[in-house]
Symmetry: C2
Subunit: 341 residues, 2 copies
DNA sequence: GATTAGCACTCAATAGGAGAGAGTGCTAAC
DNA sequence: GTTAGCACTCTCTCCTATTGAGTGCTAATC
């Protein structure tokens, strides 16, 4: 279904106006704001047509029109020109990053924060699990008699650690040796590839120090369990409160509660994303509490894993800005990852 | 100023009722709910007195009365019996903790979460800076050619780390040696006590590896900078939304924005706390955005440092429960810290 | 045939007013 | 000192009238 130019123009006017004001847009307003050379009556006729086609709707009989979700969908699919970060914004972002991050996740988190700031929407970042990263380094470090630290580093620079108990009698060189044996068996393996058999092998080789091994393995398993999960980081949740559609505390509460449950957001997104920025408008979202929100999201890849990041806002969203920012930012992320890791 | 028994009884009735319903309380309600043997008219006279004394106020001429902030203050100072955690709650908490924390801060954070859950208020935990903790252990760990990890452990089990760059030529034993030298100079010192002179000494002793030393020192300084700051952890912020006094989104937004700025909350609390649970009712708070909220907080000490934790809710708060829970929990924390660290 | 001006019509939003109800404060009796 | 009784006050809710933005239709115009 394609629309003639005039209808497109009118639809666009209404969308821009409505996005800005959150009020229904009348025929006169369309003519005035955009200096069209046709009369309000003509616009009314066109608007009536657009309503019949489902792109507009009327809150009540004699109000102006607001874009329907289908209208927004048509707009983003067929008409929208995305508005990337301008030079100044890019500069601010690059300055903000400025090497002050320790690992990929820090980087992405900062970018999420930035996105929320410049768009005034709520951003989310899903940092990938370390399932696919490689086991790079492990060490057992004596901290004090009876206590040691298991330190584990993956190839993406993620450092994990956990305290364990060890017999008082154990010496530092012994711990060191054990660490080395762990390394020999596990080094270079993907986290997912570590098998029970590997762990068993370790147990066998280090029989005489069974207790330490057991504790260390427990610690490692617990670290892996923890890090198997994707994490969601949300920034700018307060921005939702600025939108007039959420001046009702109950609605707000539902959304906030939804956001607090990390998994819910993850479940809403597809397993893996292509190279495009994806848009989910209102009803297109599965979750009941999300039918009044839109989601704009994209994947970024970092060495074989996929992370996701995106923005959420009201259906009445500046999609052009959201999509553009996200697109720009995605490129910047991948560029940095390529260079630094 | 002390009140006679009957006035106390009436004040208490009104407070309990108002805390529960958030509605002004009338004289008849007082008589009915608490089965008093005096008539409503008598209660009215007493209420009038209480209003003159400033303990009650009337939203408008012919509504019931609500406790004034002074009324609440009198109540918590002179009448309140705190309601500690009961056995079941304590058990739930202990079960929740169950050794599954790595360091003090994990522990306190979990407790904050628990507090928010059982009280339905918003909890905050201020974990102390590591300024006062002692430097326990440092190691330089080679990760890959050109990269190493600075690992720093304090006596409270806090593990910090940072990546640094090192010359490709450096060997693992060399790094190890350097780590040991760091340890020799720094071990056992309080973080605050580490002086420029110590760092200079290191620089001198390890002249030939100046670059590594510089990077490592930078990393350490940056770690210390970071950890010099106290952190605030907030749980159950959503609970505020349940209170009828905050059904207005604008108020809500102000409070949430306030909470997002960690330092603001810290600035509101006194530098150091005694052994009592402290209460700040409404106007007693400095911050403008907090004049409608009450704060109940206490300090906990862990090896010379003081952390703080507390609850915030509307002025119409169940102080007895908040104070009691906090008091119970504080004991539990200190008990665990004594045992485990 | 498309466009436009004109006008009646619709419906939310706002304001004003009446009535109900909760609760007080006062007075007079106990 | 306490209480019953009653007038009074003030909010809340419902109702109605009014306003105004914006439409939809019709008939005239380009």
């Amino acid at each position: 279904m394609t629309l003639d130019e005039r209808k497109k123009l009118i639809l666009e006017s209404i969308i821009k106006d409505y996005v800005e004001t959150a009020e229904p847009v009348g025929s006169r307003a369309v003519v005035k704001k955009h200096g069209l050379k046709i009369s309000a009556a003509t616009v009314r006729n066109e608007m009536s047509d657009l309503e019949d086609m489902g792109y507009l709707e009327q809150p009540y009989t004699s109000a102006g029109r607001i874009p329907s979700q289908k209208g927004f969908r048509y707009y983003v699919d067929c008409m929208m020109e995305q508005e990337n970060l301008d030079d100044k914004e890019t500069e601010v972002l690059l300055h903000l990053l400025d090497d002050s991050f320790q690992e990929v996740n820090d980087l992405v988190q900062k970018i999420g924060h930035f996105l929320a700031q410049i768009t005034n929407y709520t951003s989310f970042v899903i940092v990938p699990s370390v399932r696919l990263s490689k086991f790079k380094y492990l060490q057992l470090i004596p901290i004090e008699p009876g206590k040691a630290l298991v330190l584990l580093v993956t190839d993406l620079g993620v450092v994990m650690h956990r305290n364990i108990e060890v017999p008082h009698s154990i010496t530092a060189p012994e711990l060191d040796l054990m660490g080395r044996m762990f390394n020999q068996v596990l080094a270079g393996k993907k986290i997912t590839e570590i098998q029970r058999s590997d762990l068993q092998q370790l147990r066998d080789e280090l029989k005489q120090r069974r207790k330490v091994i057991d504790h260390a393995l427990e610690a490692i398993e617990s670290l892996l369990d923890n890090s198997n999960e994707e994490r969601v980081i949300i920034s700018g949740a307060l921005n939702i409160m600025n939108e007039p559609e959420f001046k009702d505390v109950d609605k707000l509460k539902k959304i906030m509660a939804f956001l607090e449950e990390e998994t819910q957001l993850m479940d809403m997104l597809p397993e893996s994303l292509g190279d495009e920025v994806d848009i989910r408008i209102g009803q297109e979202n599965q979750a009941e509490d999300f039918k009044e929100l839109s989601l704009v999201f994209a994947g970024y890849r970092s060495q074989g894993e996929q992370g996701k990041l995106g923005l959420m806002g009201p259906v009445r969203m500046e999609y052009w800005k959201a999509v553009g920012s996200l697109d720009s930012v995605r490129e910047i992320i991948e560029e940095i990852i390529r260079k630094r890791f």
